[in-house]
Symmetry: C2
Subunit: 325 residues, 2 copies
């Protein structure tokens, strides 16, 4: 009998679930609101309910459950540590709770790790064994596949590219995320305008400095606003240095970049590529290296959670996916 | 019949070779001078000759050859790229040359990668599956073991911790190695003294600014010289930030630090530990983390090259070493 996988995408706003066959064909799909403000117990009840919605009549068909959840989380123990967008969640053993409820092996991965598996199995990094996926949005997360296996680390905490420390401003320790994620871009834009910078970013944000977010910076940059272009270029240079770090430590063959800020396209990608070229130790690190936009859309977390379950939490080589899916 | 491994430690000054049984007992050991200044062909002839010196009468006993060599090198192809301390070496296919000469599978790893395997199999990181080894001397190199396997990357270039970009100051980008390796420490000491800094480092260096090296800084610091202590502390803070990067990307359970500069002990280790504690994203990354001095001595490269050959270039889990050795 063909085995099926149930997957859940637990987001701060949306809660989705799906069921896939072993060839990763979608068999069922449901979505609802997470209702995070209702607190832990209410959200747990909704997760169990949406899993029941996609469960087949014959439960025996289901092999395992894969869950994409916001980090920080421990992928080894299935414990959600304390995601900023899930108020009241602190050290929640979600894996054990779902396993106990449904009697099925349950694998949990943070959204960026799961997206790396999705891009490697069906997206921009198909066929690659050394992959770094980076998401740039309200935070900067990453998922790394090293010689076919997801890098999870001793306690399942690995691949936090956004939190790589960098020293800026003559001695201050900052991080890739604090310098280049969406909120950082918006903060720098507001600072520049307060300091009298000449830009029509403020007009994009309807004249209100508080509404000036990274999206407004991106829109102004797309129209050629010089200050907005420079702010995205700075973010690109910082992300590029993060990628140089990844190249020197992991020597991957492809970097896949997703997340809302990446939709600014070449305004972000051009400075990233230039920085990588300028600061890689040797051309051997960049020979044949691809730096590409993520290929998968909204279902990336559901597909990735299926890949996570199929690789037993990333412990098994992704080559097994080729034989399964 | 018990299988044996022949190993070579190709250094800029010393050339060593050994033979181990499958329990890693030393059966034979030879050393000579590399004679790097005599050029490529002369050194290749010496490597072949020293291998013959440790070869058993019955060649059938030997399973493979492991070589520790200075980087940059491609561990996948066995090509030595261009080590600064081996003049005239440029893209030398050492693996293929030795394989052709002796008809034995030959595995080549850079000295830091090989040392990581040695420390994991017989040294400070015994029993650990998630290990980062760092060597701080004239350069800063590293070797990383991720879930039991050596991280080599797509083209065998991985784990160059020294070349992580760490400082972004206006337009200047600097790396861990350029800020904290031995030559950087010496350069900063000379700059401080030229600028009128009060220190007896110069006395340690017999009054000659050109002779003021990292070793002299270490000796002065050991006597309590404040400027020397501060220079080592700065190096420790920079190395500590490199370790924070490794924690966030790999989430290892142990950091092993070797190399000449590490012999300054707590003068370097205390600021490293403090920086790691201050800048790790979450205590989950440092809970149970060990930061320790390397345990193996001069034979680290020979032992590590044996482990490299036994794991077929790091492709096989180090758990196999427990069963072999």
């Amino acid at each position: 009998m063909d085995k099926e996988i149930i997957t859940v995408d637990l987001g701060g706003t949306q809660l989705r679930a799906a069921r896939y066959d072993s060839a990763l064909n979608l068999l069922a799909r449901e979505h609802t609101l997470t209702g995070a403000d209702d607190g832990l117990e209410a959200v747990l009840a909704r997760i169990k309910a949406i899993i029941r919605l996609v469960m087949p009549a014959n439960r025996e068909r289901v092999e395992s459950i894969g869950i994409s959840a916001p980090g920080p989380l421990n992928s080894k123990t299935g414990v959600i540590v304390a995601p900023p967008n899930l108020p009241g969640w602190h050290d929640v053993p979600l894996g054990a709770i779902i396993e106990a409820e449904f009697g099925l092996p349950t694998y949990i991965g943070n959204d960026a790790n799961v997206a790396a598996l999705a891009e490697a199995s069906q997206g921009a990094a198909q066929g690659c064994r050394h992959v770094c996926y980076i998401t740039v949005s309200t935070g900067i997360g990453s998922g790394i596949i090293c010689d076919g296996r997801l890098v999870t680390g001793h306690a399942g905490l690995a691949a936090e590219l956004g939190h790589i420390p960098i020293i800026v401003d003559g001695g201050r320790v900052s991080s890739i995320e604090l310098e280049a994620a969406g909120p950082a871009i918006a903060r720098q834009a507001r600072q520049a305008i307060r300091a009298g910078g000449n830009s029509d970013m403020l007009a994009v944000a309807a004249g209100e400095l508080e509404r000036l977010d990274a999206r407004a910076v991106g829109m102004a940059a797309a129209r050629g606003d010089a200050l907005a272009v420079e702010l995205l270029a700075y973010a690109g240079r910082i992300i590029g240095l993060g990628i140089v770090t990844v190249l020197h430590l992991f020597n991957p063959q492809i970097i896949v970049i997703g997340g809302g800020v990446s939709k600014t396209g070449e305004l972000l990608f051009a400075p990233i590529r230039e920085t990588v070229r300028d600061h890689a130790l040797d051309s051997a690190f960049t020979a044949g290296l691809r730096i590409e936009a993520a290929a998968l859309g909204d279902d990336v977390a559901l597909v990735g959670a299926a890949a996570l379950a199929a690789t037993q939490g990333g412990d098994i080589d992704i080559a097994t996916l080729d034989r399964r899916f």
